[in-house]
Subunit: 271 residues, 2 copies
């Protein structure tokens, strides 16, 4: 920094561009080391990012000085340093599924003119935290703050299927015990909670038609974080008849793709 | 990369140095964004790292292209991107307390000629995983693989004091119930486990003299990871009389400083 400032007698545009290009090379070294698991020899790292060892070494010296990379005790290997860890921790604090999903909700609403929302697991159950409606919305009695049932909403079923917490299963059993006969009749007679969970795990998402709300269909897909944990559920809904809740239909695909895009932004690496 | 390769007609040494310096500027932008919590406006970020907004903007454009930084939906703020998260995850996988402590153990052994080791919490209790001895070691019946008592070793007391797991407390109660009267008599008569834990929490470390091993004194300090969790314990020991286990004595200070240095490398931010 000091150096560029000292000779910052308005460097030519091309020269400025080459300098930024050098920053990209530095980033490539750092990203390459991360892709290799965070630890590599100079030779292996240079081969991995397709640069000469001499050039990669010049950048590594700077990265070590900056604390982004460290050399191991024997000096044979380079590994990501404590500053890389701090950058990652700050990135994780910013990796907020609700904020990241907002852009997805707006896209789904604008392009497909459907009501959509994102829900997280609250202490009373799946809770809507962002809600987007098109110009001519269907009338539904859910909004931000609404708690959805685990057993009878598409949203709830994704949480039920993909979370293993004891509290979630306890909530589901309480719902089942308190259910009116017509709702209970919609579920499998034998092991209804286990059956719902297996269905969601197989499909990777959930859809309902006239289950939780009469005349309403919905399709939901999971948002995972970098630890692989379910962190939110993205749902689109509409009036049964005018809205196709098929998970492989146009809306179903969009919901699954948007949920997958948010997961990727959260650092989730699908296997 | 492509560009530098195209005009890589052996750039002058000074030019190469300036280019690497540009990589450092890129890193400074990334680290600055992390220090600001992972999210900032261009103006605030430029002020934070003491560079012009125009220059910082040039680097941010490249960082966004590389996925290390993202712009929020409104475009008003920059935040760390998913590649920054992946770099952090790789750095965390490399943040191994045992490997990092190895250099500390060797330093303590060489400079102070004392026996020292690092222990982690195993399923049977605190377990020694690296052990270093000077040329003329004291004879002790512990080695790599040895499980130390929670109540009567300095190592164990640090784990007892700083871990809150139910399993650890259960192990401590089992030790107490099985203790011979002379060992039991070394602890407080009233609430011995609670008293040990309070002492460790107050001191931040532990020392014993002729408690676990007759004629042996030891001093232990905690190694914390980036989540603030106790991940290992560093211990130095010697023959009582020739070895000062005072936590504020020369060896005590060294053990605490080396443990703190390993914690810092693990991303622990002492508050």
């Amino acid at each position: 920094m000091r150096e560029e400032r000292n000779d910052d007698k308005a460097p030519a545009r091309g020269e400025r561009r080459r300098r930024v290009q050098s920053a990209v090379t530095g980033m490539a070294v750092l990203k390459g080391l991360a892709r290799m698991g965070g630890r590599a020899t100079l030779t292996a790292l240079a081969a991995h990012i397709d640069e000469s060892p001499a050039k990669v070494h010049r950048y590594l010296v700077s990265l070590v000085e900056e604390g982004l990379v460290a050399q191991d005790a024997g000096g044979q290997q380079y590994q990501l340093g404590v500053e890389a860890l701090h950058i990652g921790l700050a990135a994780m604090r910013q990796a907020d599924p609700i904020r990241l999903a907002e852009a997805s909700l707006i896209r789904v609403r604008e392009r497909h003119e459907v009501t959509c929302f994102i829900a997280v697991m609250g202490n009373k159950g799946p809770t809507i935290v962002r809600f987007e409606e098109p110009g001519l919305p269907v009338t539904v009695n859910v909004r931000v703050g609404s708690v959805m049932p685990l057993l009878w909403s598409a949203t709830g079923r994704v949480f039920l299927g993909l979370l293993d917490e004891r509290e979630v299963l306890a909530l589901a059993r309480a719902e089942l015990a308190a259910a009116a006969p017509d709702l209970r009749a919609m579920l499998a007679a034998d092991d209804p909670i286990g059956q719902l969970r297996r269905d969601v795990r197989t499909a990777g998402c959930a859809a309902v038609r006239d289950v939780n709300l009469k005349g309403i269909s919905a399709v939901s897909a999971p948002v995972f974080d970098y630890t692989g944990r379910l962190s939110a559920v993205l749902t689109a809904l509409g009036a049964t008849g005018g809205f196709d809740p098929d998970i492989d239909g146009p809306i179903g695909r969009v919901v699954r793709e948007e949920a997958a895009a948010v997961s990727a932004q959260l650092g989730y690496a699908a296997t």
